[in-house]
Amino acid sequence: MRHRKGTIALLALTAVALAFPALAASDETYRTFLGYDSRISIWIIAELHLMFGAFVLGVPIFAVTIEIIGWKTKDPRYDKLAYEFTQLLSGAFGFTATLGGLLAFALFGLYPKFMDYLAGVFHDVMYIYALLFFVESTTLYLYYYFWHKMAKQKGLHILLGILLNVCGTVIMMVANSWASFMMSPTGIEAETGKFIGTAWQAMNNVLWHPLNLHRLLGNVAFGGFVCGAYAAIRYLGAKTQEERAHYDWMGYIGNFCAVCGLIPLPFAGYYLGREVYSNSAVMGNNMMGGAFSWTFIIQAILIGGLFIGSNYYLWIGMHRIPGSERYTKYIKFIDIIIILCFAVWLTPHNLPLSAEEQIAVGGQYHPTLKYLGLMSGKNAVVNFIILSTFLSFLLYRRANLGPGIPFSRQGGKSRWILLGVAGGLILIMGYYASYLLHLNPTELDLSADKEKYFKLPAILLLIQIAAVVVTVILTLKDRGKIGQMMYLGITIVNITFVLGVYGYIVMAVANPFLRNVAVTQWMTMMSALTLLTTLDVFLFKGAPQVGEMTWGKMPGRSQYTLIFLCVFIVMLIGLMGFIRSGLRENWHIYGVMQDGSAGSWTPDNALMAKVVSACGLIFLSAVSFLFWLTSASAKKDHKSEGEPSLPPKATHPTAGKAARSGG
């Protein structure tokens, strides 16, 4: 109870800080943080707030999803897992609020002029933000504390969970509007720099939704990996086989949720980057070809590490699945593909070489490797990495499943769903193919003779459409697996090899069209993920299990992989925050209000790595403390409710019902 009171007091402080922008009124432009560099102080506080924020926004998304699965399958173990995830939230929420309050106070105190300007634009929205915060906190505590009391009103409880997610997402969107306004301000009078628009105009700036999407997916990945690490530590310290089985399962679910967020994340990042460039070519160029180009190499290392780590964890996990030996022989090929793609992704276009090195290489660029550093090569391999990861999941999913019920015997509902999915994909890809075929080159500032370069991506989309039709026909004729393989093969060839190589030609002769090539690759990739997942559900519907899953038999290295993934995602979120904020360079509000403080220079990557690591370690320490509190509380609960529950026998959260019904 004391804990709750403390949290409410902190929330009140945050609300006061947000609701009284008059606090910012001052003649001073900048102050120091207790004599220390104000910019680094703000950096650390903001980063920690964002890390906790990402956690408390990401975890409820999959906690509610798991609760719904438990409700629908009537399996209490899912419900208990969802409750355990939610337990982690309650303490983290208090920390988020504390850091949010501290951040608001620090910003108003250290950057009074800037905050005066920002408050002048957003003061109406700040009241709404504070109100939403109260609604979210109330919803969270109702959701958490009434979990058991509302066991018989599960639908209502789930509704609370959904409301919690809606509030959290809206809060995130409001805060994102401030951050994105600083990058792409709107409603500004150019001559005076005065804001003459409305708060809504300021919120609805061009980078708002790209940032919303990127952060939403990022939060899911972040929450999943942090929960995975929690499960890993509990697994490593488990005393009984039951505990190990439970936390093994929890770690798997955490990793699964994280990868679900991670897979579409590069596309969301591409969308954000593209909008950054569209809004300001100067900012865009500085991002990819200027001060932050090498930071993106570090980003590539981190994202590559996350994909490799996630796959590695899955591959180790296959050893606990009887029947998986049928598929393990393919893993080495996936492994080679991912590592090769990762190497390409990491390759920079330009290396600062000494005269001697230039002579040895034969010029400023390596004759072959220079091509791998270009955007087209990177687009090709990132798609291949995602497809390979997806393939790992497919193999994992079907590892202990035998043949399912033939599609022709699955009834009309299955046919309608398959046709619906295929129809949707055909419509979307057909629309974009038509757009490309009718695209006027002048829209891209290209001469009329460049129109011929628009045809190939459109033709490839039409080939994909034909492949969808053939795959559906094969599935209807109970040859779905052949259809699956065919569609996956065509997708890989089209997006990696054909469009990957074609991208270089486009870059050389019609560079602005490259973004449309990237959209074609993304669309094709998403069609594969959607169609193949749908097919897989039907192909293994009612499939018997080859043997029982042996949860709790994972080697220690698998759990360290989960911890590694958690640390990497923490570092990644810190690095991305640095890039997003750093892109403004010496502007508080890009192009409108200049940063004249002593801290307006752009830190190098060495300093960035140190600050982000410090933030990461502080965050992980604080989270560990919260997890310790949670586990102490959980022990108390277990004493009254019994030992941890065993996980369900299914290999996959969404396959649980089907697998059991078939077995």
């Binding site: 900048y30 160029n285 200027g290 276009h349 002593a598």
Partner: protein, 333 residues
């Protein structure tokens, strides 16, 4: 449980340490911070610094094999598309524009309009997307644009400030750039008002934590290892000076690049090259000591990207001391 937690914590710290190491390595190989440096003065050298720094020109343009940007035309000699450097190309394009516009148009006019009205001549295959460089966010001053033009003139031609300033378009540029509101920019203001006398003491005292005069000359006092600072505040603005103190490797002054020499005896010697002739090379180290190395004893000599100036002033000086030193440097007009 405790044991597993500590193992996990140790593992997390190790991963962070690797991350920091990667950050250091990347910073090292990429040549340090690529910050928006501001260089005062109107010269090709200043223009070059702006081109590769605060002007952000390099994010779109390469110069020959220097840089990797391909969004905008290469300004040096590069492949069959760019057989001439920009100074010579400017003359050809000026002729084209003169015919098109039906009035005289010089190479200097072409360079000036490329900043004032870049859409006047768009190179085939490229978009008309060059930002207005005197407007935010780049917000270059007229003098800085002039310096960049001088640098471009130096790429295949002779820098000629007079020709640029006589261009009728230069007046238009000045007028347009001058109309940019100062309301949107904030003048630099340090956190604290430093004491220049105390700063002078820090600078010259050989026993201070940062005895700058060991390497830098002010007036007739000080060493010659680093650049002379007698008029530093007259030629460099304060953010640049701050950056030079805190991140000395970010931009190394021309002529003060450090070199590493590996001798045939396996000895490693680092320092700024002060003299070189057919027979020997003389390096100066951070203590101002000069060492002459015979060329037949040099196995390898490599230019370094990291300045020999210590990069730990942030740790050595307190906030007050730093501002005192800065206040002293500000007096060196």
């Amino acid at each position: 449980m405790q044991n597993s937690f500590f193992k996990a914590a140790l593992f997390a710290v190790a991963v962070c340490a690797i991350y920091i190491y990667i950050g250091e390595v990347i910073t090292d190989i990429s040549g340090g911070a690529k910050t928006a440096s501001t260089v005062a003065g109107i010269s090709p050298e200043a223009g070059e610094a702006i081109f590769w720094g605060s002007g952000k020109c390099h994010t779109c343009h390469s110069v020959g094999d220097q840089g990797s940007a391909i969004r905008a035309p290469n300004l040096g000699v590069h492949g069959s598309d760019f057989p001439l450097p920009i100074a010579l190309r400017a003359e050809e394009r000026a002729k084209e524009l003169s015919q098109k516009l039906g009035k005289p148009f010089t190479a200097a006019d072409y360079l000036v309009t490329s900043h004032f009205d870049p859409g006047l001549y768009v190179v085939s295959g490229y978009k008309n997307e060059m930002p207005t460089v005197y407007k935010p966010p780049i917000a270059l001053k007229v003098d800085q644009i002039l310096a960049v033009d001088l640098y471009l003139q130096s790429l295949g031609g002779e820098p000629n400030a007079e020709a640029l300033m006589k261009s009728p378009y230069f007046e238009l540029l000045k007028k347009a750039a001058g109309s940019q509101s100062a309301a949107t920019t904030v003048a630099f203001k340090p956190y604290l008002q430093g004491d220049p006398e105390k700063g002078k003491e820090i600078f010259f005292d050989p026993n201070s934590k940062t005895p700058c005069a060991k390497c830098h000359t002010v007036g007739d006092k000080g060493g010659k290892v680093g650049p002379e600072l007698t008029n530093v505040a007259g030629t460099r603005d304060i953010p640049y000076i701050i950056q030079s103190i805190l991140e000395p490797s970010a931009e190394i002054a021309s002529g003060f690049e450090p070199f590493l020499i590996v001798t045939t005896d396996g000895e490693f010697i680092t320092g700024v090259k002060k003299e070189e002739d057919d027979k020997s090379v003389t390096l100066a180290d951070t203590d101002g000591q000069r060492q002459k190395i015979s060329k037949d004893k040099i196995e390898k000599m490599v230019q370094q990207k990291k300045s020999i100036m210590p990069d730990n002033f942030r740790d050595l000086l307190t906030m007050d001391e730093f501002h005192n030193l800065l206040a002293f440097l500000e007096t060196l007009q």
